[in-house]
Every structure is written in structure tokens, then in C-alpha cells.
């Protein structure tokens, strides 16, 4: 039963890939397959959630290499099922939404199939009971992400972004694979249950966990492997919603959650995770402040929000992390889908070309209000509750006594608080720039529609309006959990599933609330002070630094990409000139010797006689000496 959860979408995805991409009927079939896959997965998840009380587990032998068993193990506790629920809901929403969003894309069929594949892979990660199996899902997700980012053929930066996304995560996966190898070998099994139960040496454990963290950092866009995520926004917006906001990027968090008993034994790993989380949290938030591209603002905010989740893990509260994961999935998917509607309507990603959309797109506007509110942590929206949980856990950990060192908890806590302030600021800025004030769609030279910035569209947009039904409904449906999921913390079933504590509102919420209001207020004040100007200009010379995300892309380019390319050039040269040169040289030498020798034979007979007799003489002398010595 559990195996079918990832199995069904994977199978339907594979089937979908076989469809002919071009024709009209194929399009319908592709849409049907995609939606069916998502619906089936959702139904299965709900069914499992409703019927099972105990975690269901399956173990099948898969393959045995030497004395290492790899098993087909699935296990899904309630927590996993809730994550699966989030995944399937968002996936269904995105599948439906995409039908409208890509209505004139000739390559829709593989796109839909790839979403199905992705869904299956993500569900595989969620339900896997074996590290190798988990790795399978993990990497298939990566590939789907790659394929979908590079989907838009007219966007010249899309292929590069796709490659970058895959490669950066792949670098992390080097560590992930090594970590799995180390842990699996030390435990003599790759089954997660066995790995969790086995007794590692401290060094092995820390090394293995740190290696796994590298993979987590890659997949979940944590510093320093976060650079791919903003670029990945080159993909179609529904993809950004599904993969690069709601699900895949959270997979890292989920893996740490899954292996948390091990992390709890290793303060070093937790401290590393904590520092990583704090840096990522602030880095993402600060970078989000200065972006002009709507999707990039959301992307950086994703980076920052995942920092909250990892921070929660670091300070010893996996439950808070998971809770935030779920709420974030809801509100960020909502935001992206709504952003897609905006982009679909105005034909540009740039905030500087929007403005005043509140009047023409009311539904979208209210979706945005809910989503941004949840993002900023405005009570009683979902984000408030989950973020509150994280802050409480961090504050609690600063008192010491937990697995994590107290200083790490302090770092996380302070960063999280600062994050609240900044998040409120950029959320407000986004809302104001896009939906309030006058419309800036018309530049001095008339409509400013730029080919290449509206992904998935092949005709010019008309007047901005709310999206068609097939796109509107998913947005509206997602608005519900984005608003209300936080209240689920009061539902006992849900709480026990996540092992969440009873939410209690006390004075501790005052500080974040204050910061929230300060942030939002400042943004509003700046916007009001100079009408039409971007509030971020107030930052002065810091603004380009933030807009370029502290130039970490350039650093990565200089420190890694270029050296690797130079190395490749040198290696290729060596291979051609030195290695192959030796081979070719050996051939040339033989030929040259042959020429030389045959030239020596181009002589008259007497030379031959001389050679014969000289040879005889020399050999005779040698023989005489040899004979004398023998």
C-alpha cells in the first residue's frame, strides 16, 4: 500500500513520457495522466492517514552486494503521511494550474509527465525506509527539477539555470552519497531502522552526519550551496511553486527529521546545522529585500524560511521544523501560484513594471495578502504558529541542557528574530510595489512586454485580469491551508502525529510581534515617503550588495567554476599532448627508426659484405670472451 504511494505517480509519469509531445490529443491525455496521478496519490495519502494508526512498514529484499543488503523498505508514520499530504495537495494544485498556465506550450506533455515523476520521487523520499531507496527518490527529484527548470525553450538563461541547479545540488550529493555509504557500511545495513538503531563511533557518526548535511544543504538551498535556487526561478512558475518552494527544497529538512535520532547524538553536527541555518536565514532574508524580480523575492524568502526549519532542527525541535515545513508548503505554493497569475497577466516578472494590480486582480491580491501574511508570521495565519514554535524552541535551547550547544541556540534565536523583522519588511514591500500605487506597466515607449520574461506564453497578454478558472481555483484552494493550517496545532491528532507541543501564547510572542510591526511599518513608511520609488533605495549603497546576494555567485564562479574549467583545459592538453603524445610518439619513433634503417640498407653490395664480416668479427670476439670466461 505504501509502495503504491510513490509508485503510482512514478508509473504514470513514465507512461506520460512516452506520449507524443506534439499533437493536441496527446496534450489532453497528458493532462489526464498528470491529474490522475496526483489525485490517486492524494487519495491514497488520505486513505492511509485515515485508516492507519501505526506506522506501516514494508521490507523486501532488493539486492545484495557482498555483505551489504539493500532493501526495498517503506515506512510511513503519521508525520510522513502529513508531509505526503502536503506534497500531493500541492502537486494536484500545480497539475491543474499548469493546464491553464501552459495552455499554448507545445511541450506540455513531457512537462506534465515530469511533474508526475517528481511527485512520485518526492513521495519516495518521504516514505523510503532504506537510505538507498531514499537516495533514488532524492536524485530523481533532482533530475526532474533540472528538466523542468530548463523547460522553457525561449528563455536563454533557463538551460544554464537548470544545469546550475542540478550541479550545485549534485555537489552536495557527493557528500550525501558518501555519508550514506559511511553510515550504511558502519551499520552493515542501509535500512533506516537499522541505521537508527546501530551504535556508531563518535567520529564515524559525526563524519557521516556532516556529509549528509552537505547533501541537505545542496537540496534545501542552504548556505553555501544555496546559489542555485534563485536562478532556478527561470523555470515555469508552477514548477517554482511545487519543486522550488513547497516540496523538494524541504526534502533536506525531512531527511534530517528522519535521521534525527542520530543528529541528537552529535552536537557537532547540530552546531554546524545551526550555524548554517542562521547564516542562510539572514542571507536569504536580506537578499530578498532588494530583488526586483517577483519570483526572486519569493525564492530568497524560501531560502530564508528553510533556514527557519533547519534552525528548528538544530535547536532540537524537529516537530517545529516539520510544522513549519507544512505551513510553508501551503503558503509558499499559494504565493507562487498567485505570482504566476500576476506574471501571466502582466507579462513581466519585474516589480518595477507592476503596481496598482489590486483593482484589476482582486482575487489574486487577496491570495497574496494571505500568503505574505503567513510568510511574515501574522497571526492567526499559518506561518505565525509554526514560526512561533521555532522561536520558542530556540529560546528554550538557549537555556542549555539540550543536545545542541547553547551558543548555537543563541545564534539561531537571534537570527530568527532578525529574520522576522526583515521578512515583514520585504513582504510589505512586495505587496505595496505590486498591488498598490499607480500602474507602471506602460513605460515611455508604450507597453513594455518583453519576450522571454513571461515563461510559458507565446502570445501577448491583454489587459491584466484575474486568471482563468483552471488557474484560479488551485490558488483559492491553497489559500485555505495557508490561512488556517496553523490552527491545526490545536488538533490533537495532528499534534501527536508531529509530536508537537500544545501551542501556548504568552509574553514570548511580544518580541516577534514588535519586530513584525516594525518591519512592516518601516516598509510602508518608506513607500509612502517617496511615492513611486522602491523602498529598498533607502538602503543606499548596501542595496546592490543585497540585490546580488552578497556576490556569492561571483565568488562561486571565481573559486570553483573557473578553476575547474582551467583544470579541465590543462588536463585535456596534457591528455592530448603528453599521454597521447607518448603513444603517437612511440609510433612515430618506430616509423622513424624504420626510415633510418631502410635508408641504411639503400646501399651497394659491398656495404653488405662489410656488415656481414664486421658482424661476424664482433660476434666472434664476443664468443671468444664468453668461451674463455665459461
Amino acid at each position: 500500500m505504501i509502495a503504491a504511494l510513490p509508485g503510482v505517480p512514478l508509473l504514470l509519469g513514465l507512461l506520460g513520457l512516452l506520449l507524443s509531445p506534439a499533437d493536441r490529443a496527446g496534450r489532453k491525455r497528458a493532462a489526464a495522466l498528470g491529474v490522475t496521478g496526483a489525485v490517486l496519490a492524494l487519495a491514497l495519502t488520505v486513505f492511509l492517514l485515515v485508516t492507519t494508526d501505526d506506522p506501516e512498514e514494508i521490507h523486501l529484499d532488493w539486492v545484495r552486494l557482498g555483505d551489504l543488503d539493500v532493501t526495498l523498505s517503506f515506512s510511513a508514520g503519521p508525520a510522513a503521511l502529513y508531509v505526503a499530504l502536503a506534497v500531493t495537495v500541492v502537486a494536484l494544485a500545480v497539475q491543474i494550474y499548469s493546464i491553464g498556465y501552459l495552455h499554448d506550450d507545445p511541450r506540455y506533455a513531457p512537462y506534465a509527465a515530469q511533474i508526475s515523476l517528481f511527485t512520485g520521487a518526492m513521495l519516495l523520499v518521504v516514505t523510503a525506509g532504506d537510505l538507498i531507496l531514499l537516495l533514488v527518490g532524492w536524485e530523481v527529484m533532482g533530475v526532474c527539477s533540472y528538466l523542468l527548470i530548463g523547460h522553457d525553450r525561449r528563455l536563454h538563461e533557463a538551460p544554464a539555470a537548470a544545469v546550475k541547479a542540478f550541479l550545485v545540488t549534485r555537489v552536495g550529493d557527493v557528500g550525501f552519497l558518501l555519508g550514506i555509504a559511511l553510515l550504511g557500511w558502519s551499520a552493515r545495513s542501509f535500512r533506516i531502522a537499522d541505521v537508527l538503531a546501530s551504535d556508531f563511533g563518535a567520529t564515524t557518526l559525526t563524519a557521516g552526519l556532516l556529509l549528509i548535511l552537505a547533501g541537505v544543504a545542496g537540496k534545501s538551498a542552504q548556505f553555501p550551496l544555496h546559489t542555485w535556487l534563485p536562478d532556478a526561478m527561470a523555470g515555469p512558475t508552477p514548477i517554482s511553486a511545487l519543486i522550488h518552494a513547497a516540496t523538494m527544497v524541504a526534502a533536506g529538512v525531512y531527511v534530517v527529521f528522519r535521521l534525527y535520532p542520530l543528529f541528537a547524538q552529535s552536537p557537532t553536527a547540530l552546531a554546524t546545522l545551526g550555524v548554517m541555518a542562521a547564516v542562510t536565514l539572514l542571507l536569504g532574508a536580506l537578499s530578498a529585500m532588494a530583488q526586483d524580480d517577483l519570483k526572486r523575492v519569493l525564492a530568497w524568502s524560501t531560502v530564508s524560511q528553510i533556514g527557519y526549519m533547519t534552525g528548528a532542527l538544530a535547536v532540537g525541535s524537529p516537530a517545529a521544523a516539520l510544522f513549519h515545513l507544512l505551513t510553508h508548503a501551503a503558503f509558499k505554493a499559494l504565493l507562487f501560484l498567485a505570482a504566476g497569475a500576476v506574471i501571466h497577466a502582466v507579462g513581466t516578472n519585474y516589480l518595477s513594471r507592476m503596481g496598482g494590480l489590486r483593482r484589476v486582480m482582486p482575487a489574486t491580491f487577496w491570495s497574496f495578502v494571505i500568503g505574505l501574511g503567513a510568510l511574515a508570521g501574522l497571526p492567526p495565519l499559518a506561518g505565525f504558529w509554526s514560526k512561533e514554535n521555532v522561536l520558542v524552541a530556540a529560546a528554550h535551547a538557549t537555556e542549555g541542557g539540550e543536545a545542541v550547544p547553547a551558543w548555537t541556540a543563541w545564534v539561531v534565536w537571534i537570527a530568527a528574530l532578525a529574520g522576522v523583522l526583515i521578512t515583514a519588511w520585504y513582504s510589505t514591500r512586495l505587496l505595496l510595489r505590486a498591488f498598490f500605487g499607480p500602474s507602471r506597466a506602460y513605460g515611455p515607449d508604450g507597453p513594455d512586454w518583453e519576450v522571454g520574461f513571461d515563461d510559458a506564453r507565446y502570445d501577448r497578454p491583454g489587459v491584466a485580469h484575474d486568471p482563468p478558472r483552471v488557474m484560479r481555483w488551485p490558488v483559492l484552494v491553497l489559500a485555505v491551508p495557508a490561512a488556517l493550517l496553523g490552527l491545526a496545532a490545536f488538533a490533537p491528532g495532528f499534534r501527536t502525529a508531529l509530536e508537537l507541543e500544545q501551542p501556548h501564547l504568552d509574553v514570548a510572542i511580544a518580541l516577534p510581534m514588535l519586530l513584525l510591526v516594525t518591519g512592516a511599518g518601516t516598509a510602508w513608511w518608506l513607500w509612502r515617503a517617496v511615492p513611486g520609488a522602491d523602498p529598498v533605495l533607502a538602503l543606499g549603497r548596501v542595496q546592490p550588495v543585497l540585490a546580488n546576494a552578497f556576490y556569492l555567485d561571483a565568488v562561486q564562479d571565481r573559486a570553483i567554476v573557473r578553476p575547474v574549467k582551467a583544470l579541465a583545459r590543462a588536463v585535456k592538453w596534457t591528455d592530448e599532448r603528453v599521454v597521447d603524445g607518448t603513444v603517437e610518439g612511440a609510433g612515430k619513433t618506430a616509423t622513424g627508426l624504420g626510415t633510418l634503417l631502410s635508408a641504411a640498407h639503400r646501399a651497394a653490395l659491398p656495404r653488405a659484405a662489410v656488415a656481414v664480416l664486421t658482424g661476424a668479427l664482433l660476434l666472434g670476439v664476443v664468443a671468444a670472451i664468453y668461451g674463455a670466461s665459461a
Binding site: 659491398p606 664480416l613 664486421t614 661476424a616 668479427l617 666472434g620 670476439v621 671468444a624
Partner: protein
């Protein structure tokens, strides 16, 4: 030094001296004649060494036949009778190798045999030699007859330009 030794030495000097002239003479015909002298001296050596039959065969076959053949060849190739300057090519490789071979062999043999005195054996008369050949060496004798026959036929085939192959 016995009489035999003295004879050997004297004949040896003649043989070597004549041989030296064979390979250095500028006259083709004279070289042939020096060869006769050298071969004759060698025949003398055979006599001293007790190989009577060999000595006579030497005189008959070599002096009588081979040298005559050679001289005929000289004439047939219309070689100049007088001195000619184009008989030789640069000397140093030949000198080097020739001297090396000669002296090397001399040293080798001299080192092996020193001044050991050997009694001269009973003379190898024709009768004894015949006994030997037909007693111990029948097989090579038979084979060499084939060899001679083929040499004969071969020489004829080559020398008669009127015998032409049909394939040509």
C-alpha cells in the same frame, strides 16, 4: 726448431706473401698468378703436414682448374691486362676488418696451441684416404655428387644465352 718447422715457416711466408699480393695487386692477371703461387705454397704445407692426397688434389683442382677458370673469366669480361686503378675501394674498413679477423684468429689459435709439439702423423696417401672416404664418409660423398651435378647444369643454364625460358 725442426726441419719441418723451418719448411712450414718458409712455405707459410711464401703463401702469405703471395696472398697479400693477390689482394693488393693492381694487375688483374697478375693477381691470378699470385694466387697460383699462394695456393702452391699451401699445397706444400699440406705435404709437410702429411696430407699427401690433399696436396695433389689442391694442385690439380685449384691450380689446374679453378685458377684457369678465373683467368678465363678475366678474359671473358674483357678486363684490362695491364695495371688498372679502379680495382679497389677505400681501404680503411677492409683493413680494419681484415686485420681484425686475421690477427684475432692468429691470437686465438696461438693462444690455444702455444708451442706444443705434435708428432707428424703417417702420411695420408691416396689409399688411406680412399679407405676413409668410402669407409666413414659415404653420405656426404653421395650428396656432393648431386651438388656437382647441379653446379654443372646450373652453370650451363646461366652461361648459354640461347636457352630462354618459355615464360618470358
Amino acid at each position: 726448431m725442426t726441419v719441418a718447422d723451418a719448411l712450414l715457416l718458409a712455405l707459410g711466408v711464401v703463401a702469405v706473401g703471395a696472398a697479400a699480393l693477390v689482394v693488393t695487386s693492381k694487375h688483374l692477371v697478375r693477381a691470378g698468378l699470385y694466387l697460383v703461387v699462394s695456393l702452391g705454397a699451401i699445397a706444400g704445407l699440406y705435404l709437410v703436414l702429411g696430407a699427401e692426397l690433399v696436396a695433389w688434389v689442391q694442385v690439380l683442382v685449384y691450380v689446374g682448374a679453378v685458377v684457369v677458370l678465373l683467368l678465363f673469366a678475366v678474359m671473358l669480361t674483357r678486363a684490362p691486362i695491364g695495371a688498372s686503378d679502379d680495382l679497389d675501394r677505400p681501404a680503411w674498413p677492409a683493413l680494419l676488418v681484415g686485420a681484425g679477423v686475421g690477427l684475432g684468429l692468429a691470437v686465438l689459435l696461438a693462444d690455444a696451441f702455444r708451442w706444443a709439439i705434435f708428432p707428424l702423423p703417417e702420411a695420408g696417401t691416396a689409399g688411406r684416404m680412399g679407405e676413409q672416404i668410402f669407409g666413414s664418409w659415404v653420405l656426404p660423398f653421395e650428396v656432393i655428387s648431386i651438388l656437382l651435378l647441379s653446379a654443372l647444369v646450373g652453370a650451363i643454364v646461366l652461361s648459354r644465352p640461347d636457352i630462354k625460358g618459355r615464360g618470358e
